[in-house]
């Protein structure tokens, strides 16, 4: 197996990448603070520079999770080593989905409260983020409440269902809000961004994407280590012998 993943030490390239990520995060923060003041909201709008990357990225991780789930089910019988890796990746991307969606919701609510006086409104975007969050929390709960071999299979199946559901949620909520309009938090997505603010947007998007990739990789590596603990490896890989479904009370 790859000796890098066997080592106890944090590889050098990862440390350098982390340092670079912190640098980009710092630049992003600086750009966010020095971008010109917004006409109506003053300084408050700067929340957008953190809110926007998180909400965009919270739609990327679910599809990584779905791809990993498909790969797990595909490799489950023929290539158990790859299946284990796919399962670890699925768990990592699901946790990141929940994390990024949580940040998106929190920043959205803080912004909304200060700008429009309400903590929450059931507008299209916020409702979609909430449902996304709920879907992937239910995925993590399923993993927590399942033991042994079936954990990976059952969560892979749920991941596929969740990924199918995300676009349906998005469309249905959008149609709902077209029929019954509600106050839209954060202005329209189509409301133009002043070109002077674009550098801040891009730097922060890059920064949080880099951070996301780093934490994804780290979480994946930790899960892989946990899988390799004695007694764990065989728990995920199917034995090929049919197991009875027992009544658990």
């Amino acid at each position: 197996m790859n000796s890098r993943s066997q080592s106890q030490r944090f590889p050098l390239w990862a440390s350098l990448y982390l340092a670079l990520t912190f640098a980009v995060l710092a630049i992003g923060f600086y750009e966010a603070m020095t971008a010109p003041k917004e006409a109506t909201m003053g300084n408050l709008y700067r929340i957008f520079f953190y809110h926007f990357p998180h909400t965009i990225l919270s739609f990327v991780f679910p599809y990584l999770n779905c791809a990993a789930a498909f790969l797990f089910l595909f490799w489950r019988r023929n290539n158990s080593q790859r299946a284990l890796k796919a399962d670890a990746f699925a768990l990592a991307s699901a946790e990141l989905t929940v994390l990024y969606a949580s940040v998106g919701l929190a920043t959205g609510m803080l912004w909304g409260r200060a700008a429009w006086g309400i903590w929450w409104t059931w507008d299209a975007r916020l409702t979609t983020y909430l449902l996304l969050w709920l879907l992937y929390v239910s995925y993590l709960l399923l993993r927590r409440l399942t033991n042994g071999e079936q954990k990976a299979v059952l969560s892979a199946v749920l991941a596929i269902f969740a990924a199918i559901d995300v676009p349906i949620c998005f469309m249905s909520i959008r149609w709902w809000r077209t029929q019954h309009p509600a106050p839209v938090f954060g202005g329209g997505a189509d409301s133009g961004i002043d070109p002077h603010m674009l550098p801040a947007v891009f730097w922060n998007l890059a920064a949080w994407a880099m951070w996301g990739a780093f934490t994804l990789g780290l979480r994946y590596a930790i899960e892989r280590r946990r899988q390799r603990e004695p007694g764990e490896a065989t728990a995920v890989v199917p034995s090929g012998v049919p197991q009875p479904i027992l009544e658990v009370r």
Binding site: Q8, F10, M41, G42, N43, L44, R46, I47, Y50, H51, H54, L91, L99, S102, V103, A106, T107, L110, W111, R113, A114, A115, R143, N147, W208, W211, T215, L218, R219, A221, I222, E223, R225, R226, R228, E229, P230, G231, E232
Partner: protein
């Protein structure tokens, strides 16, 4: 130095702090898990169910 007088300014500070706490808190938890998993792999302790 940090603007804190109006509601808007406070919420801006809360929002940025919330993001840092959530993200770097998760990062810190991961760092702890990494170190713990390194120790376990080295000592071959009995496993604990996690994740």
């Amino acid at each position: 130095m940090i603007p804190f007088s109006t509601l808007s300014e406070r919420h801006l500070v809360y929002a940025y702090c919330a993001v840092w706490i959530l993200q770097f808190g998760y990062g810190a938890w991961l760092a702890v898990q990494w170190r713990r998993s390194g120790r376990n792999a080295g000592n071959k302790k009995t496993t604990e169910q996690s994740g």
